[in-house]
Amino acid sequence: MGKGREEARLGGEQHQHSLAEARDVKAWRMRPEVFQAVARGAVVTALLGVSILVGSRSLAHFDAALVAYTFSILFATFGLTYRYSMWLSRPPTALYWRRGWQAFFKKGWRLRNALFWVRRIGEDVLANRFIIKRDRLRGLTHLLIMWGCILAVAITFPLVFGWLHFRPVPGDLSLYEAMVFGFPAFRFPHDSAVAFFLFHGLVWASFLVLGGVALAVRRRMRDEGAAAVQRFAEDFMPLLLLFAVSLTGLMLTASYTWMKGYGFTFIAILHAITVIATFLWLPFGKFFHIFQRPAQLGVGFYKDVGRSEALARCRRCGHEFTSQMHAEDLIEVERALGYRYEIPGSPAEHYQWICPPCRRASFALAQSLLWRGTRGGERLAEPAAIAMPVHVNSCLGEGPLGSEDQENFHP
């Protein structure tokens, strides 16, 4: 082994070692973050517990039959807060969480951001526009599952917490009254269409969810691309849970409507098991994206602000490729993660100041440098300015996939 090779090997080991060391330090530092996450989980769970006590008027309107559901929700609240807190402690997440809020509350941007927030909530969260753009059928699938779950949660959670209950109106037994937090909210005849739709709310929710689950399973069974990367726990388990919850819920309705309550107790226990399992699964599996996804809104504001400020210029080809803030933040994140992309003695200083196309070009140039003298071809004369690399095929879909890529490719 030559001297250069030996030095490179030692250097490599040193760098790998420093990366591992940085990770060890990070692991050691995780401890206070774990305590913080546990404390946050306990506080949020306690707050929910207090709101249940207050909202149900000291448990006066609390339905004791639903106590298992209440405790599973409390446990899920703890788990979700814990995981969310741990997620936020990762260097990139922590930075973008902070930057997202800073961008949102930036002076002169607040009104615009508030309007954009409403628009993005409508388009991205409520209408799933970006999923529809991925695939219309997938968009429909997600809309059905999402709105089915939202409807179910909106009905069951207030009932389980004792925040909502129904009672016959004293003096007029043909009327029902909805009580929200112990206050009368609205009345309706118990045999009206309103009552029928209201009391069967979970049936409609399960129809939506079952439709969505059927479409999702169909795709996972037929799509070869999905089949290659899907995993049981990550992709099938949530669908099975949603299917089980919806089906057992419908069985309850079928039992008391058409079968004179046949097997009702057994089905009720079965339904409770499926629902509780789903709640317990919330913090750990695919369902966590429900709580993670809104971060997309913060990223939108971060990008908007970044575009209006100083832009980063590639220190190889000299073209703008992203916001200076983004490049600087990435350098900070990479350092926190233990990466050492600094380039001593180079005008670039840090590899993060090199745009993606120039990174690709540098890769090829480094390889051709190794082959110099072995293969044909000459080193061309030093150009006055370094040319920007361009895509051989700049068509959308074959070169860049969207406007952001086009910016990175220097249009």
Binding site: G2, A8, G12, H15, L19, R90, P92, Y96, D124, K133, D223, G225, A227, A228, V229, H289, Q292, R293, V299, R316, F321, T322, H326, L330, V333, E334, R340, Y341, P344, S346, A348, Y351, C355, P356, R360, F363, A364, L365, A366, Q367, S368, L369, L370, W371, T374, R379, L380, P383, I386, A387, V390, H391, V392, N393, G397, E398, L401, S403, E404, D405
Partner: protein
Amino acid sequence: MPVPEKNEFFVDPGRCIGCQSCVQACTECDTHKGQSMIQLDFIDRSASTQTVPIVCMHCDSPTCAEVCPADAIKRTEDGIVQTARKPRCIACNNCVLACPFGVPKMNTGMNLMMKCDMCYDRTSIGLKPMCASVCPSQALAFGTREEMARLRPNAQPLNTFRFGNQLIRTKVNVMAPRTSSEDHVDVTAAMYEPAIGHDVLDDVFAEEQP
């Protein structure tokens, strides 16, 4: 099903003729239908024909995954760095800008990062990735080390790259001369090198010289 260990990916940009077969073949892949994940660039279009086809190098310690705030990029146990998980990706563009090889693409409308996953639907059942199966010059090749040693006796695979102070080891190999004493490719050292080619000396517009 994991990618069989005996099969490896070998990239040799020096053999690339810029034919775009890989770009077209990549669009056929089931995991990203109709969209190519290959990055095929001219390095200096006005002066050289040198092109570079880039597939994901599948780093042992993927920077793209580490800088992802949404934890959307996962590395499988067989070393494949998967494309962003659709429910998680928040389209922040961190991975696109942080990848040392400039691999990921951002699909703005879909709010989704997309990148090469070494045709996991094919390689996990022992088939070649689409790009390697069509590349006429085998700049992108997929096979065993023994096959490569037999087919390219003057070359050896390297899978360690230097970017400034950082060394990155990858699952994908790049071909270097067998005589080379280097055990890694120093990417940043070559950053300001001019492209390889032949100086064109004939000026077709000049008057004919005696």
